[in-house]
């Protein structure tokens, strides 16, 4: 009789750590070999199960990821052998057997080739639905469990699992290539990758309620994935720009919520709580990116964030530079939200009345956009137009989609009325 010894906590931890850190690299390597997302994931999952048993019975091997890759390949052989479409996979099967023979007699663990860049581009392929790109990236590259992703996006686990299966099926049936696209396709394809990472970050950033730990981890995960991307494409300034932007936003994490758990505006944040080390990392990245002389929207947004990070106070902020950066950003990507942010910066530079004059033309386009009414209320209040400001605050409160935003605005309105 086989008796499975109880799995020690140390082994469990070791395996969990590998599953997180090396998951993307292992899965990418297996997909490259097997040409099949589902088979790659299933085989790696088998290998992890196997590790739980073997590493407890014997000891944790010297090169755990190498051991997992070798085991996952053998598990893939088993799975292909058992599967009904054996013929379709016969090429991959032969290759796996060859690889297995090469390593059979040696104790040398295989090197894991880094195919994560191809994996990122595949997961973020614009032929996939936007939300599926995010889910697939977090699952396949980030190694997050389906349940974790579902909870992060306030979805059910079943719905998220189905979404992942559909995405993997489309990759297979439409033959979305597992490859780094040729350079001529990069403008669209890299943009899609960057926007997936930024959406992951924003989702975590929006979850500012203290009890929503898991969602906030999305910020950390987005930064981790952007670092991986930056290491894989070291000379791409927009990747550096996005990474810097996220690091700089994240550096203000500790100051963003007051003791009453209500968000604190940038103007009123306690800047001594900002993470100085993160800021210097972010600043260095912004400088490196901009020095390449190929500015882009993420770099410009990071530069704006950097100016805030360097300012000793809200009043001492380089508003003139910020206004100019918004001008550049708008010239690159015309967008009413950029103009709104520019008007806010202008109100800090030249006064609330100037800000309001710049808002006037945006009303039609941004009528349903909460930050527009919040900015307008703030400017009216600073201009001493209390009645009009109250109306704008009410409109903003009514448009708020989450509780922290609403509490923030209600507090500002109360403060204004108390004079």
């Amino acid at each position: 009789m086989n008796e499975t010894p109880p799995v020690s906590a140390a082994v469990r931890q070791e395996i969990a750590a590998i599953a997180r850190n090396d998951w993307g690299r292992l899965v990418a390597s297996l997909i490259g070999l097997l040409g099949d997302f589902q088979l790659a994931e299933d085989s790696l999952q088998d290998a992890l199960e196997s590790a739980l048993r073997h590493w407890t019975r014997n000891s944790v091997p010297q090169n755990p990821p190498g051991w997992l890759l070798l085991t996952a390949r053998r598990k893939a052989i088993d799975r292909i052998r058992r599967s009904r479409n054996f013929e379709r996979k016969s090429g991959e099967y032969a290759r796996l057997i060859d690889l297995d023979h090469e390593t059979a007699d040696s104790e040398i663990m295989p090197e894991i080739p880094d195919e994560r860049l191809a994996l990122i581009f595949t997961c973020c392929h614009p032929a996939l639905e936007a939300k599926s790109r995010i889910a697939l990236t977090l699952r396949t590259l980030g190694g997050l469990a389906t349940g974790e992703i579902a909870r992060s996006f306030l979805d059910t686990e079943t719905a998220m699992a189905q979404r992942l299966v559909r995405a993997q099926r489309k990759i297979r049936d439409a033959a979305i290539p597992f490859a780094v696209p040729e350079r001529s396709l990069w403008p669209e394809r890299l943009d899609s990758v960057l926007s997936v990472l930024y959406l992951v970050f924003s989702e975590g950033y929006a979850a500012s309620e203290g009890d929503d730990r898991l969602r906030h981890d999305l910020c950390t995960e987005a930064i981790r994935l952007a670092r991986i991307l930056d290491s894989l494409i070291p000379d791409e300034p927009e990747v550096e720009g996005l990474l810097a932007l996220m690091i700089l936003h994240d550096s203000r994490k500790a100051a963003r919520l007051g003791n009453d758990a209500i968000p604190v505006s940038l103007a009123e944040q306690d800047r001594s709580l900002w993470d100085r080390e993160a800021i210097s990392n972010g600043l260095a990245l912004v400088i490196r990116a901009l020095s390449r002389g190929r500015p882009g929207p993420y770099q410009l947004q990071a530069a704006i964030s950097a100016i805030h990070s360097e300012a000793s106070s809200h009043d001492e902020t380089g508003w003139q530079e910020i206004v100019l950066l918004y001008d550049q950003l708008h010239a690159m990507k015309p967008n009413p939200i950029v103009l709104l942010n520019r008007a806010v910066a202008l109100s800090c530079l030249a006064g609330a009345e100037t800000g309001l004059a710049n808002l006037a033309g945006l009303e039609a386009e941004l009528e349903d956009y909460q930050p527009y009414h919040a900015a307008k209320a703030d400017m009216l209040s600073r201009a001493g137009k209390i009645n009009e400001a109250s109306i704008a605050y009410d409109k903003a409160i009514q448009l708020s989609q989450n509780r922290p935003d609403r509490l923030f605005l209600e507090k500002k309105k109360r403060k204004m009325q108390a004079g």
């Binding site: 392929h125 032929a127 049936d173 439409a174 033959a175 979305i176 290539p177 490859a179 696209p181 396709l185």
Partner: protein, 119 residues
């Protein structure tokens, strides 16, 4: 992998026959035909007459009923197709993007299903 590129457009947006724009438009299609053939990806392709001359057939309870017009009325109608054999979707997207109608209409790329085992 075989793909069909289904070419949709609102006929009102198409260049009118006899205009210089129409000549340019046809040149674009000629370039598609030549490139696809030279690259060895072309399996077939045709332009379709407009839905004015379409006929829809249904068989219900063994009875054939015939109707004037397309099955669904939409502003964008299927105006033609290419059948291409490409290594992967990125390659199919690149070829589809060459189709002149993509500039004002749209091209839907669908993988061909292999049903030979089911017949």
């Amino acid at each position: 992998m075989k793909y069909i590129a289904l070419i949709y457009a609102n006929p009102a947006n198409e260049p009118k026959f006899g205009t210089p724009e129409f000549a340019e438009y046809m040149k674009g299609y000629k370039a598609c035909n030549e490139t696809y053939a030279a690259d060895g990806v072309l399996l077939g392709g045709e332009a379709l007459r407009s839905t004015d001359v379409a006929t829809t057939v249904r068989v219900r309870g063994g009875k054939t009923s015939t109707m004037d017009g397309p099955f669904i009325e939409t502003k964008e109608q299927l105006g033609g197709y290419y059948l291409l054999d490409c290594p992967d979707l990125d390659s199919a997207i690149r070829y589809a993007a060459m189709i002149p109608t993509a500039k004002f209409g749209s091209v839907e790329i669908r993988p061909i299903a292999d049903v030979s085992g089911l017949l």
